[in-house]
């Protein structure tokens, strides 16, 4: 059982196994379930993610509030023009992250990674990198175990909840998780995965949870978009050999402390940040009517 990234790396290096394998073995030991069972469940999670990505890109998804929907399609169409500035891999990941969150906002079925509000980043990166890296189905399932291993450390030492730690705890964590998993899938070392996670997460410190009208739409969908882009860049930086000056566990702890000290108006109460802008307030009024209503 590992509690920290340092312990995770230690096991990976001692047993000479990838991080995904450390996570799989821990799950087997903790739950008493078989490897086949565990792989099958993660395979089902993968299918749910695949379906959500596909729905947002191929169907006309719109949330009940009308605030989000249709942007994944727009970005995909723009990619077809062949004139993008950032390149297809990055934008593909971005559009797939957006797609997932649009489906989530429309109360569609998704897989929380680690939360629903941040559910777009990990599948966005995974399915964005798929055309480039051509992973086997097993490699894709392992991607999720690697992402899970890093998320596991964050959840137990800091937080993965916007209400407790702000968006840095949700999209920040997801971005770090995806960066670490991308490194492994691209052939990087466990240590490089940890650096990717640290580099990604440190760039999201202080990110507040300020959902307009209290919904999981604006700016959540676009935050997942940026998370997917940042994760891939962080993975590249780590694969280039760049090391995070601050070790991963300390970055996680910093995120934890920042989250604890964050005022509650910035922790999923829809009272600050973008939620408190004139447009934000106007939208809240329009969607929910009087803001001082109680009960139904």
């Amino acid at each position: 059982m590992f509690r920290t990234v340092a312990e995770l790396l230690q096991i990976a290096e001692t047993e000479k196994i990838p991080i995904s394998e450390v996570m799989i073995r821990m799950e087997i030991e903790e739950s008493g379930r078989s490897r086949e069972d565990i792989m099958e469940q993660m395979g089902r999670n993968l299918e749910v993610m695949e379906k959500a990505v596909e729905r947002g890109i191929n169907e006309n998804i719109r949330s009940r509030s009308g605030l989000t929907g249709g942007d994944a399609k727009l970005i995909q169409k723009y990619m077809d023009s062949g004139k993008t500035l950032s390149g297809d891999t990055l934008l593909d990941a971005v559009s797939k992250a957006v797609s997932t969150n649009e489906v989530n906002a429309a109360m569609g079925k998704i897989c929380a990674t680690p939360t629903a509000g941040s559910a777009g980043v990990v599948p966005g990166v995974l399915f964005g990198l798929k055309p480039k890296l051509n992973p086997s189905r097993e490699a894709m399932i392992r991607f999720l175990f690697t992402a899970g291993a890093f998320g596991f450390v964050v959840a137990n030492n800091a937080s993965i909840s916007g209400a407790a730690g702000g968006c840095q705890a949700e999209v920040g964590s997801a971005t770090g998780m995806a960066a670490a998993a991308a490194v492994e899938m691209a052939g990087g070392t466990p240590e490089q995965s940890a650096h990717a996670m640290a580099i990604a997460l440190k760039n999201m410190l202080g990110l507040i949870c300020d959902p307009v009208a209290g919904l999981v739409e604006v700016p959540c969908v676009m935050r997942n978009a940026m998370g997917a882009a940042q994760a891939i860049v962080a993975a590249d930086i780590a694969l280039a050999g760049v090391k995070s000056v601050i070790p991963c566990d300390e970055v996680i702890e910093a995120m934890h402390v920042v989250g604890r000290r964050m005022p509650t108006i910035y922790k999923e109460t829809a009272e600050g940040g973008l939620a408190a802008t004139p447009t934000g307030r106007r939208l809240a009024e329009k969607i929910f009517g009087s803001q001082t209503s109680s009960g139904r």
Partner: protein
């Protein structure tokens, strides 16, 4: 450690939009339903903190009711839960409370049917994971760091021994246990915290013991 499985992080599969406010809420509702044992006639729900502020947009109300109707986090029927509850004759009212609780996503559910009453306080700690902190006014001393099960049973001698025997047979160590009952000879509740995870098959085995009514886990 609060999160003990990779599937707490990659998962649950759920109907959106929020793992704490939708999936977590559905799980709290469902645990309450399983502890109560049947569809209540009336439910009063008090929401605190972030739950109270964002419940309409996140479908927390819909999800809590869906859970009370025994829907799992990924059940599409959640979206129509309020209508379905009305059709099934379950009366639900919501109250937003200003009191600051220890955790920002807390809900107190009061379930009633005839003279049967159950009060549960559930907390959604993030990523869909939940804890039950209070039961019928008593603070539970579950740490949340270890697996736990609730066994609802008929209040009669030998019940505790039978459950303990099954757990011992499977080499599961009990770290903490609390027993309580609503009225002598009626239904009683065991709250058991264990060192090892209690698998679904062991839960089923316990459920089939004489006098057992339900076994509820928080996963």
């Amino acid at each position: 450690m609060k999160y003990r499985s990779v599937f707490d992080i990659i998962g649950p599969v759920m109907v959106g939009p929020s793992s704490s406010h939708t999936a977590g809420a559905a799980r709290i509702g469902r645990v309450a339903r399983h502890l109560f044992g049947t569809l209540p006639d009336k439910v009063t729900i008090y929401l605190y903190g972030s739950f109270a502020k964002t419940y309409k947009g996140h479908g927390t109300d819909i999800a809590l009711v869906g859970g009370l109707l025994d829907f799992d986090t990924f059940d599409d029927r959640i979206v129509k839960a309020l209508t379905l509850a009305e059709e099934m004759g379950m009366d639900v009212t919501f109250h937003e409370e200003a009191v600051e609780m220890e955790h920002p996503n807390t809900a107190r559910l009061v379930l009633e049917k005839g003279d049967e009453k159950l009060e549960v306080v559930g907390v959604s700690i993030g990523g869909g994971k939940i804890e039950i902190t209070e039961l019928n006014g008593y603070t539970l001393r579950l740490s949340g760091n270890q697996p736990a099960i609730f066994v609802v049973h008929r209040d009669q001698y030998g019940a505790i021994a039978k459950v303990a025997d099954v757990l011992a047979k499977h080499e599961i160590n009990i770290s903490y246990m609390e027993v309580s009952r609503r009225a002598k000879g009626r239904t009683a509740l065991m709250v058991i915290e264990t060192d090892q995870t209690v698998s679904q098959s062991i839960c089923e085995e316990i459920k089939h013991l004489p006098g057992m009514l339900n076994v509820v886990t928080l996963d």
